[in-house]
């Protein structure tokens, strides 16, 4: 287990804290709301209610991550966030299409929801339009994905943060600063097996010691891409859920767990791991668990 020499930032968004030394702040889960067609938000609301209750019991926050695929779904999703997500809970938006990104940001501003928004995410594909749109409609927090197609090792990931690796004119950290966002989360960009999938985990303590910023990734993506697991159907989900402990074990602060349905299973696993880490961190490094930490809630 780790403790970092560099001061570790703790950011707050709507009362949810993220970051800090291992064993200090409960690990945060980002749970995706995806849909193949029109978003089924009535079902989502029931699931979310159940997950928020479980999250309250255990202490690990769950942030709903809204994936908006088509323009015609923008209003449906944003209205749902406005009316149905409790005001004390932040949310993130995960959009690939540049046109939709801009429209969503504009609508979030109109609805006065930007203070609860985590923008998931900027990467080396950021365009001038996206940059300007973010500048004009500033979300409270942003995730930077350190994906470097040239070099999938930790050094390559650091390079895109520092100087853009010749893929952007500036490093992604500077770009976020130029937008004017200080609350930055770093995503170490988990890639498929065969593409140095382990580098996403190894990069966590490196990023934390280098920048002191909250760090995590979507290790779930690696499990999803592990096609050989299809031959072990009974184990696939167990591997998916438990893979998330790699992030906490390496000092990370957040995990992007895939679909919301996973949260019910991942929450107790992460709470258990947080307790394990906290016991050691307090004894050897004097790190006190925050008041909502699962160790305080469950022991």
């Amino acid at each position: 287990m780790f403790s970092f020499t560099k001061k570790q930032e703790i950011f707050d968004i709507n009362g949810v804290k993220i970051g800090g030394q291992p064993g200090e702040i409960p690990t945060v889960l980002f749970a995706g709301l995806f849909s193949k067609g029109k978003p089924d938000l009535i079902t989502s609301q029931k699931k979310l209610q159940k997950i928020f209750e479980l999250s309250e019991q255990l202490g690990n926050p769950v942030i709903p991550d809204f994936f908006i695929k088509k323009e015609e779904y923008i209003e449906i999703v944003i209205n749902f966030i406005e009316k149905s997500i409790p005001k004390n809970i932040p949310f993130s938006i995960d959009i690939i299409d540049p046109v939709i990104k801009t429209k969503v940001l504009e609508l979030l501003k109109v609805k006065k929801l930007l203070s609860r928004t985590i923008y998931n995410s900027i990467h080396v594909g950021i365009t001038e339009e996206e940059f300007n749109s973010l500048k004009n409609n500033k979300p409270n927090m942003i995730i930077i994905v350190a994906f470097n197609p040239k070099d999938k090792n930790p050094d390559g990931k650091l390079e895109v943060l520092e100087n853009g690796a010749n893929l952007t004119n500036d490093g992604l950290l500077n770009i976020a600063k130029k937008i004017g966002i200080k609350k930055i989360l770093l995503d170490t960009a988990a890639l498929a097996p065969g593409d140095n999938s382990g580098a996403a985990i190894a990069s966590i303590p490196i990023f934390k010691e280098e920048y002191g910023l909250p760090t995590g990734c979507s290790i779930h993506n690696v499990v999803e891409k592990s096609k050989w697991l299809d031959n072990y159907k009974n184990s696939r989900k167990i591997v998916d859920f438990s893979s998330n402990i790699n992030i906490s074990a390496f000092g990370g602060d957040f995990t992007i767990i895939g679909p919301l349905e996973n949260a019910e299973f991942v929450l107790p696993i992460i709470a258990w791991e947080d307790i394990l880490i906290s016991e050691y961190s307090e004894k050897y490094f004097g790190i006190k668990p925050y008041k909502t930490h699962p160790r305080r809630k469950k022991l």
Partner: protein
């Protein structure tokens, strides 16, 4: 899946390597019902395309690459693959005129890309999602007479790993060191 024909692996099914047609399926649950050479999905406009190129040139029998299904929003992987075939890459390794967000080919030599551009003909059926229509289209190309391109081209991945001399065996990375309790420090400080 990695077979002797397709050393780079990826999300594909190798059906009949002696056939001439490869099918890339975008955002669609479709299984071609004919004995084509290979079919599989494509998601990203960088690593995904690299794998397709490397795998295809390793099987010289493949002369047609059919792209079908619903284009992937933002990534525009199908159109980026077509752009790679049409225009190649620039000096920054960016696919020329590709509409995707991060269309970089970083792990293949230009020679491999040129071979891909020369070896295959692209059949652009992006936005065709009806399986019946696709079956008819595939029928048309799967048994076309063709000539093998010749020898396989086995693309070697560029190695970016750096060789480091690290005396401290507990180190995770050259930038940090970790003491026996788990305290992380920057190396050299």
């Amino acid at each position: 899946m990695t077979t002797e024909y397709y050393p780079w692996g990826g999300e594909f099914v190798s059906v009949s390597p002696e056939n001439n047609l490869a099918v890339v399926v975008l955002n669609l649950n479709y299984i071609p019902n004919k004995k084509i050479a290979i079919y599989g999905s494509l998601k990203t406009e960088n690593i995904g395309i690299e794998k397709i190129v490397a795998n295809i040139i390793s099987n010289p029998n493949i002369r047609y690459l059919l792209i079908c299904g619903e284009e992937i929003r933002g990534h525009k992987s199908g159109e980026s693959l077509i752009a790679l075939h049409k225009y190649g890459i620039d000096n920054e390794n960016k696919i020329i005129n590709a509409p995707g967000a991060i269309p970089y080919i970083e792990n293949l030599k230009k020679e491999a890309i040129n071979r891909f551009r020369d070896q295959i003909e692209i059949l652009d059926f992006i936005n065709i999602t009806d399986p019946k229509k696709l079956d008819i289209i595939i029928d048309k190309y799967a048994f076309k007479t063709f000539k093998s391109y010749g020898k396989p081209y086995i693309a070697i991945k560029f190695k970016t790993e750096k060789k480091l001399k690290i005396d401290d065996k507990r180190a995770l990375h050259s930038k940090i060191k970790i003491n026996y309790m788990g305290k992380v420090e920057k190396r050299g400080e």
